[in-house]
Amino acid sequence: MFGRTRLRERIIIQVLATVIAIPFAFPLVAIVAKSFEGQGPAANYLAVLTKTPFLRFMLNSLIISGGTVALVFVCTMLAAFAFSKLRFRGRDTLFVVVLGGLVLPAIALIVPIFTIVLRLGLLNTYVAVILPLAAITIPFTVLVTRNFLDGVPDEILEAAKIDGASSFTTLLRVVLPLAKPIIAVVLVWTFLQSWNEFFLPLLLLQSTEMQAITQVPLYFTSEYGSDTPKIFASLVLLSLPVVVAYLSMQRFFERGLTAGAVK
């Protein structure tokens, strides 16, 4: 951003950036390196996959993430479309009501969530985790999606209206195709949140066969003591899906996140 940089300056910049980056890279390398120690990489990873309920936990997390992503996606698109493009009384007030959820830490709801789930007999069910997860994710996804849709010119939608399309058809046929970048953000973000969630499964999924993938390290420690290399192998394995999701959607993800937050 400062015009041409000379080679000497470029080298100074490179050195400074590297000095800052090393402490960030070091733990990443150390985590993978640790997972190769002990009996070696193949044995460690194989043990995690075959001798623990890792795959079962993974299935649970897939179901939880899939349910949360679907619920958040449908709710977000409908609401963000209405908040951005439809006119109805109390619209801005309702929008603020939804945004209020941004401020609330999930743990502040520990008592209501736990006692209500207990009373409804929903302990150890997927729904018990999916609903609160969706509720704490939706305010953010609605905010970024509405900001994005505000940038879509109303004229395009009016053309569809003149052609006789209902508002729902307009949403499906005109708005969704234009909103692909933000849809990518909503999907990846919600997947990250639900896959990575630790607190709600800890609280609400207590039977072994229902536990989420983020509980693998704790399960491991309680069953096998501290077999550190295998614990680290499980950490690497459980991080793979989010790392792959992030890397493959990197461009969309960064553009959309900043489009929603830099305002």
Binding site: F24, L28, P105, I107, P132, E197, T258
Partner: protein, 294 residues
Amino acid sequence: MTRRTARLGLNRTGYLYVLPVLIVVVGIVYLGVAYNGYVSLLDWSGIGDGQVFIGLENYVDAFADPVLWTALGHVAVFAVITITVQMLLGLTMAILLSGGAWLRGVYKVVMFLPVVLSPAVISVSFRNLLSPDGAVNAALEAVGLGALTQPWLANPDTALFAIAAINIWAWTGFSFLLYQAALSQISQEHIEAAQLDGAGRFRTMWSVVVPQLSGTHATLVLIGIIGSLKTFELVYLTTGGGPGRSTEFLTTYIYKKAIEGFDAGYAAALSVILLVLSLALTVIQMRVNRTLKG
């Protein structure tokens, strides 16, 4: 909040579109908060019937509870350290990489990757890396700083700072990303004008670029404050609030009271305090930003 008048659909269908979101958010968050308020007036274990209405007694107890104040102190120290360092490092890195370094993509991934990892993965990893014979102490010895080695998370004097350091590792990428996006929107003309006036690079940076990023600074401070109040896993899974109470956070205290202490009424009162604090700090923050802008 003045917005363009939307011209599509001038009728009530709008309510149908927002209904699912309202059911989920109001049904869980708002009713949850209301139920919390009710339980906070009870002496109740959280399970079964024995609910006794005790008015504001839980709040009176909470304000006289030294653990609450200790925990709030820890959250404040944690917030100041993490927000400052994350913003400084994120901004510096964003500026450095905008100056045309080699392998920018690699630096970006290294900075941002921790942001997408689960707090559970980060906590378990760092509990090991920061242990007395862990990789951090080994690295310190390797570079001749063996005198600094510590049981970082087990020493009450360093534990809170160690957790702050883990948070900085996990979240600097987020500050970096927002600054990077904001930098790309700064008008090149201002920068060139300053340079024509003979301002040096550092001067240009400090007096032209940094003030133009005020929106991003404000966003990061706000997210940082709420994030600090929310922090739970990072503490629960590394020190559990210990040694002693040296890293107790409001969130870990709430968890202990609700789940391990079977004191739902008291935990609910602490939750209400947490909620009021987050709301109040958000409103104050937004007012301050508006005044600064106006």
